[in-house]
Structure formats: structure tokens, C-alpha cells
């Protein structure tokens, strides 16, 4: 159970001093930065067009394997597209979808969590019952259902994932707001005659933003895996766009004959990104927000 330390003054925002940086997860952060860099400069970095291939050059293995060449460093897929280029553009898809969906979910969930926790009463009841119900649904199944209705596109995926995952923010943020509400500085603001909207915006929001950031980092991994799963099932990013989940689906075509690079490489990319986000999130959770430790 989380223990809430009673403090009278408004807590100072936690700053990242050197002491806190001691066990900073450097490698995961570098990996995330590298993926972000590749995503931004995919146009420049990618040697080929990720969507055009030639059947004559299909199923080329990576360069170090027999039959591979420096021409296609990481080989080609079932229609002869360059795997390296597709991975690079795939990073862009994952980054955009991941960050945007986390942002949508975070904004929606934080807003509803603050409103529910601060206003209480029937508003709280309605929002929390809805949150609990949606939380009970397996996120992936729910997302598949929504995707099946609205049809696949990058924008739809962002909205769907945001709509599915806001509930987790709402839960946590509401809990924090409930304890913040009892603190002296909120009471002072009430006594001083601040409007409720102003208290929520000026006094509550800055105090829950740490938790929201921690959750967002932890959520990034979940969102990326879900996006990959949706794409893998054919209700995510529509082909021929290069998304890692789609590449895995395509990779199945060469799997049984042992074209391992089509399966292993996109998966490794997903794994690196998700693992890095989780490690960074875990660290942030411990450092920024001790109350979330048992999350």
C-alpha cells in the first residue's frame, strides 16, 4: 500500500539533481534517442524506398550470410524491398503512433482523473465506473473491435489507442488528486477564493504531472506493442506502409523456409524500443514519484 507522507507545504517539484542521476539508465535512453534520430532522418538515412522492391531480388539474406551482399545490408523481403530501409521508416511509424497515442491517452486520462478526483460526487462516480468497465476489457480486443469499425489508418490507430488507454491515467491521477485535495495548499487556494477551474489548472495539475510523465513512459511500451499487434493482425497501419508489426506479418511468408531475418529483425527493434521505454519508466517511477512504486 502506498503511504502518503503528510506534508503541509506544497511539495516542491522534484528536480533532477546529480544524486538522483546516479543509476540513470544510460543505455536505454541512448537506444530511444537513436531510434528517434533514425525516425526523424529516415529520408536521409534509408538507402532505398521502403515501399518499392523488385521481385527479382526477393528474399536476399543479410550481408554476412551466404548469398547476401553489401547492397542490401539486412536483406530483402518477399517482394524484394530493402529490410534496413523498412526498419528505419518503421521506426518513424512506431515513434509517431506511440508518442501521439500516449499523448492523447495522457491528456484525456489526466483531465478526467483530475476532474473526477477534484469534483467528486456523481461526476466522480460516472467517470470511475466507466473507467473500471473499460479497464476490465482486454485492451487489445477492445482496440481490434474499434479498428474493425472505423477501419485501419495511422490516425485512427492513434485515436483508438488513446481511447483505450486513457483509463489507466484516470485511475492513478484520480487517486493522487484525492490525497492532494486534503493538503493545506489546496485549502489555502480555496480560502483565497480561487475558482475550481483555476485550482485544478494551477495547483493540482502541476502536482500530478510527475505521475503522468512516469505513466506515459511506461505506457509507451504497451502502446507500441499494441500497435504492432494490430498491424500484425491487419487492422493497424495499412500496407504497404513500413510498420514493424506489418513486417512481422509479412515475415511469416518466409518463416517456414528459414528466412529468419524477416521475423527476427523487426521483433528485435520492437523489443529494444519497448524494453528501453520500460527501463527508463521504471527508473523515473522510483526517482520522480515514490508513491507510484508499487504500480
Amino acid at each position: 500500500m502506498s503511504t502518503i507522507t503528510p506534508t503541509i507545504a506544497a511539495p516542491a517539484p522534484v528536480s533532477l539533481t546529480w544524486r538522483r542521476l546516479k543509476d540513470f539508465p544510460l543505455i536505454p535512453t541512448l537506444i530511444l534517442l537513436l531510434i528517434a534520430f533514425v525516425a526523424i532522418f529516415a529520408d536521409v538515412l534509408a538507402p532505398y524506398d521502403p515501399q518499392i522492391g523488385s521481385l527479382a531480388r526477393r528474399f536476399r539474406p543479410p550481408f554476412w550470410q551466404e548469398g547476401g551482399s553489401m547492397e542490401y545490408l539486412l536483406g530483402t523481403d518477399h517482394v524484394g524491398r530493402d529490410v534496413l530501409s523498412r526498419l528505419m521508416y518503421g521506426a518513424r511509424v512506431s515513434m509517431i503512433v506511440g508518442l501521439a497515442a500516449v499523448l492523447v491517452a495522457g491528456a484525456l486520462g489526466t483531465f478526467l482523473g483530475i476532474v473526477a478526483g477534484f469534483l467528486g460526487g456523481w461526476v466522480d462516480q460516472v467517470i470511475m465506473r466507466l473507467t473500471d468497465t473499460w479497464l476490465a476489457l482486454p485492451a487489445l480486443t477492445f482496440a481490434i473491435f474499434l479498428a474493425a469499425i472505423v477501419g485501419p489508418s495511422e490516425l485512427n490507430i492513434i485515436i483508438i489507442l488513446g481511447g483505450v488507454y486513457w483509463t489507466r491515467y484516470a485511475r492513478v491521477i484520480r487517486g493522487e488528486v484525492l490525497s492532494l485535495k486534503e493538503r493545506e495548499f489546496v485549502n489555502l487556494a480555496v480560502v483565497a477564493g480561487c475558482s475550481r477551474a483555476k485550482i485544478m489548472w494551477r495547483h493540482i495539475l502541476p502536482n500530478v504531472i510527475n505521475s503522468a510523465i512516469v505513466l506515459a513512459t511506461l505506457m509507451l511500451g504497451v502502446v507500441i506493442v499494441t500497435e504492432a499487434a494490430l498491424s500484425f493482425l491487419g487492422v493497424g497501419v495499412p500496407p504497404p506502409k513500413p510498420a514493424w508489426g506489418l513486417m512481422l506479418a509479412d515475415g511469416k511468408k518466409g518463416l517456414m523456409v528459414g528466412y529468419w531475418w524477416l521475423t527476427v529483425l523487426p521483433g528485435v527493434c520492437i523489443m529494444l524500443m519497448v524494453l528501453s521505454a520500460n527501463l527508463l519508466g521504471d527508473w523515473l517511477r522510483v526517482k520522480l514519484d515514490p508513491q507510484l512504486r508499487q504500480l
Binding site: 476490465a136 476489457l137 473491435f145 499487434a229 515475415g251 517456414m256 528459414g258 521475423t263
Partner: protein, 306 residues
Amino acid sequence: MKQYIARRVGYSLLSLFLLSLTIFLFIRLTGDPAALLVEPGASAQDIENIHRRLGLDRPLWEQYWLFVASFVQGDLGLSFYYRTPVLDLYLQRLPNSLLLAAVAMAFSLLIGIPSGILAAVRVGRMWDSAGKMFALLGLSLPSFWVGLVLILVFTVWLGWLPSSGAGTAAHVVMPAFALGWYFAAAHMRLTRSSMLEVLGSEYVKLARLKGLPEALVIGKHAFKNALIPVITLAGINLVVMINVAVVVETVFAWPGIGRLLYEGISFRDFPVVQGVVVIGGAMIVLVNLAVDIVYALIDPRIRLAR
């Protein structure tokens, strides 16, 4: 006690209502529901029939009533592709899903509970770190990718296990592992934290003060208490497994509910998709209710506290 159960049942009914309302509204608000429920290439007459059946000319709340009434009667519509009622298809696939979920659950508990306890008893030691790594990977790796890599290694390279289908014990090994790893990680984490909490309790302190051997302190006094939340989670997770197995079942062509959902997506068979989601959601609401009630029966403290 009665009051507690009545309140839980009330909450569950409310959840079912919100759930059906959510699904209903999503279908209505995103365009003509008839377009989803009619086969591609259907005639104007067919569309007209669907409209009448759903009562689309009537007020929204009446439409909702028709929608719920047909579900309650077990009418989930007809599959376009199989030409059979969705409910029949569902029940046909359910045993396979249960089998996969049961094996995956057994695996996840066999790994998760002992390693969680070990990690709690040896906090900060090598076992704890190894466990953390195992859990982190389990929670980070997409299950379908784990499945694909398993196929690559054990079917394509080693030729030990079949890559798809069902029927023999060998068929279930890889899908159960791919599905169970994530849950093993979740069960391990919960066992560890629950065990740590119990180990810090006064009654464990008293057990040590009594001079009990450490094996008895952990095996008897701590274990049973620490296990309650884990078993609760496992109960819920068994149902969750049935409903999230869609990617794993797709990878291994395992003929369960998840595979049915995938077929529904790929054949644009909307009644099937809707049916799987509705039943899945209802199942989870009900298992949550069941767990709450069983919990209250097992653990006398809850009975008295509420």
C-alpha cells in the same frame, strides 16, 4: 455479507450496461451500422431487412433495447463467412481456448510463484535480479514475436515441435509458452511484492519470535497469506488469457476464440468480431464478480469489514 454481494452484483450490472452501451454507441456513431452488418455486395433489399431488424427507423433508446434483448436471448447474429450463428461458432472454439489458457496458466504459475517467492526472500541477490530480468522481458516482448521466434527455432531449425494446429500435446507447448510468459512475469511480480508485504507483517515477526524454523515461517505463515492476491489475479487472468490470445492463436493457427476473432477481421465478418468482443467483455465482468464473492467467502476479514 449479503449487502456486500448485492453491491458487487449491482456494480457488475452497471458495468455490463456501460459495456453494452459503449459497444452500441460505437457502432451507431461511426456511420450506418447496417453497412457493417451486411455482407459486401449485398442488395438494397438486404440492407433494408437489416435496417428493419435493428429498428434503425426507431428512436435510439429503442434500438438499444433491441440490441441488448437479442444478446440476452443468445442471439449474436449470423456469421457471413460460416453461415452459422456466431454463438455456435464461439462455443465450438471455446474448449480449445480453455485448453490453451489452462496450460499457459499452469506454466505461468509454476514459474511465477516459486521465482517470486525466491526473489522476495533473497531481495537484491542474484536470484532477484534474474527474476527481474525474466519479468521485464516477459512484460516487454510482444507475445506474437516470441511465438514466431519459437517456431523459427523449434520447428524450422530443430524440427522438434509442430508450428501450427492443435490435437496433440506437442501442439500446445509453444503457444502456451508464448502466451504464458507475460502472465508468468505478472504473477512473479505480484508474488514478490505480496510476499515482501507479508514478510514485513507482525504475524511473521511473531512466527520468528516463536522460534519457528525459517522454512516454516515462509512456507506456512507467509506463503498462504501472500498467495491470496496471486490466486485472485490468476483467476481473472485465466479469462483474460482466453480473450487476449488472438495474436498467439493467429501465429500458431490454434483453433480457439482468438483465431475466430482474427478470421472475423480478415473476412470482414463483423457479427463475429462483435460477438467475440461482447462475450469477452461480459465474461470478464462476471469473473470479476465471481472473484469478489469468492474472496469474501474465503477471507473472513472482508466479510466483516464491509
